[in-house]
Subunit: 387 residues, 2 copies
DNA sequence: TCACATTAGTTCAGCTCCTAAACAAACTAA
DNA sequence: TTAGTTTGTTTAGGAGCTGAACTAATGTGA
């Protein structure tokens, strides 16, 4: 099941510096090779109809290097030749290459659902071949872990091709070792999710926070730009911050946690966190629904108020990082109308034109599959270096 | 004057992808070498009294690689042997190495002063050997460029050792090519500062925004942590955002520009940018002084109000990026007392304990030399890979 | 005192991967 | 048919890494 794929980004052993926090990262000849593998795969993945000569020109690699790398990739079953390209110009016709999109499978899991876990089996393209939704009503703690393991087992059985890895979007705070440090909704503390899933499957596992997974998903399969923030509005409010194509994790793995930032000066409702006026008190879907259920509730006013609070919180972030895009994800019925418009408006009112002039502010188009597709992208990134 | 130093971080030719924004970055054997040079220099720079064997163990490089790299560095005059280390254990005593701190000079320029440019000549340690302050009262446009060129010329003449590079902290927006896109205070638009200074000096030039230079300065010569924001409070308000030791530049080179984020809900004073309630209207030193000059002004209230506004703007940024440190730089008389306390307090009130619990919030200890020392660090980073 | 263990650092053979240049293959156009 | 163009491979040479053997310098203990 587990094929040897060495095209990981150049990450060798990482040593800690005694006392200081310095890291040393060795770089050998084989790191160059795997880096070049990633470049080639990335290029073939994003642009159709490239030949070895195209790759050589566009990547700046020598023809012989490209030939060698492509040869390795073909041997590994990751790249296929599609035949010669018809041409009107003189010269030998080029052999068109492509990622062998159906030659391997990827599994993605979304553990962020309130009532169920979602899992998909895809090809390298992210095309969904099979989908499983597993009810987890009320399950938490170890039950929830077992549910995830069973979901994974079901998907592995459906795989017709070698599975190159499993990506997981989990709620809560996830560290670099794939340990879920804290996920209150599932009753998880320090759950070694990567290790557990690796043990039962023998496959490479990549775990990330659900909002971060959604962000890489939007970047790769949506229209996402490399400097963006994606805000998930759901039971809670979370976000993923991407800068120059890289997800920010933060000093303590809590980057993106903006749900409990206090928005505005008026005190507002008391939040479970103990503060008053947290963003979630206006923006989380259960809160919006509660407000809308009040007698004489003005739907648009409530949604606008929520959007305004969001825009107010986003303004400093977008300014400080000079982001080029804000993407919202959540139930379109609530999020995409007055809420989004008010958020955009508040953000623009509170920042320089220079900051928001070239900025996009939009909904995701990936819908419910955003996180699970993001989980698939985690595998593409980690195993193939493709983003 | 210009010595060949090849220990730049692995950055070869960078190709653009046609259409898409993908980059390809070739990696050759010599990139590995220069990467290892940087690792070794970095280690020797930060930790005193290391031997080749220590480097090999701590960096995970083989002894022969370390010996080769060190040999190159000694040949280049960047590293010296200090003699054998007295030891009580058996075995051949180790030869202690050190960066040849007095063997080369670095020049740093700070062009952010309201009335003068500041320049320093330092050794590799950042110890200031010579300092020049040049009055620029009223100069702008080309005059200001010429003033910077003359300042540089004076410092070059004072150098007793080869100058490995010149770092510049400039106000305004600086792009990756060292072009100052826009610096209103100096009347600059699209000034190719790196090219101009390189032409007159023949030296490698590194240009960065002043707040960004200050941030790397704080990181290397202050107690700065790798995930921090540094806020400069001066004529205006600017900041530098560092994540995992890297400065964020933003999609359009404007990261850190938080001076014109609107803080709070009450409209506040009209700002030059056209909005009401910009952070600068409370926090910039001229505004603070104007408020303090009002009859019956309550000094502490005014400073607290300013700090409160700052904390309000910082809260979303610190949460979204999970930063571990906020550093303020500016006139201590105004910034270090109630203002800082109020900012810290507002930030903590508006974020989760999880976010601010492990966070530092403090003044810089580098005083007026912060930017100019940061400019020196730009050279250490760019030329030696030392951070 | 002298063999022995220990630690530091170098030399040497072999490997991977890169580059540059020559070469082979396949096509168009005159 | 021949020249020119473009694609892709082969070959020779070089840089840099690794592992093993080796030299060097010191303390330990019989």
């Amino acid at each position: 099941m587990h094929v040897p794929i060495t095209a990981t980004p150049p990450t060798n052993s990482i040593q800690r510096w005694p006392g200081t926090g310095l890291r040393g990262q060795r770089l050998g000849p084989s790191d160059a090779r795997s880096h070049h593998r990633s470049l080639v795969l990335q290029a073939l993945y994003r642009v159709q109809g490239l030949s070895r000569a195209d790759l050589s020109r566009d990547l700046g690699l020598s023809p012989v290097t490209v030939s060698g790398v492509v040869s390795d990739l073909v041997d590994d079953g990751l790249v296929v030749e599609l035949g010669t390209r018809p041409t009107s110009r003189p010269g030998k016709p080029a052999t068109v290459l492509d990622v062998n999109r159906d030659g391997h499978n990827i599994i993605g899991l979304d553990l962020s659902g309130a009532r169920s876990f979602l899992g998909v089996l895809t090809n390298l393209d992210g095309s969904v071949l099979h989908r499983v939704e597993q009810d987890i009503a009320g399950a938490d703690g170890n039950e929830a872990i077992v549910a995830a393991e069973m979901l994974l087992a079901q998907l592995i059985m459906r795989a017709q091709r070698p599975v190159i890895g499993v990506g997981v979007g989990s709620p809560g705070i996830v560290d670099d070792d794939g340990v879920v440090r804290s996920a209150p909704n599932l009753g998880w503390r320090d759950v070694p999710l990567r290790a557990r899933l690796a043990d039962v499957s023998g496959l490479p596992i990549a775990v990330a926070n659900d909002a971060n997974a959604a962000t890489v998903g939007e970047f790769t399969f949506g229209a996402g730009q490399p400097d963006m923030i994606l805000v998930r509005i759901d039971r809670g409010v979370g976000s993923g911050v991407m800068i120059d194509g890289r997800i920010m994790n933060g000093a303590r793995h809590s980057a993106g946690e903006i749900g409990h930032v206090v928005s505005g000066a008026d005190d507002g409702e008391l939040c479970v966190c103990g503060n008053r006026g947290c963003l979630e008190r206006w923006l989380a879907i259960p809160r919006i629904e509660a407000h809308l259920a009040e007698p004489e509730a003005q739907r648009d006013d409530i949604l606008r108020e929520a959007g305004d609070r969001l825009g107010t919180v986003l303004a400093p972030i977008v300014s400080a990082l000079n982001l080029s895009e804000v993407v919202l994800a959540g139930p379109a019925g609530y999020v995409s109308g007055p809420l989004l418009a008010a958020a955009r408006s508040a953000l623009c009112d509170r920042t320089l034109t220079d900051t928001h002039g070239h900025m996009q502010f939009r909904m995701t188009e990936l819908g419910h599959d955003l996180v699970v597709l993001g989980a698939v992208v985690l595998v593409l990134r980690g195993r193939l270096g493709v983003t």
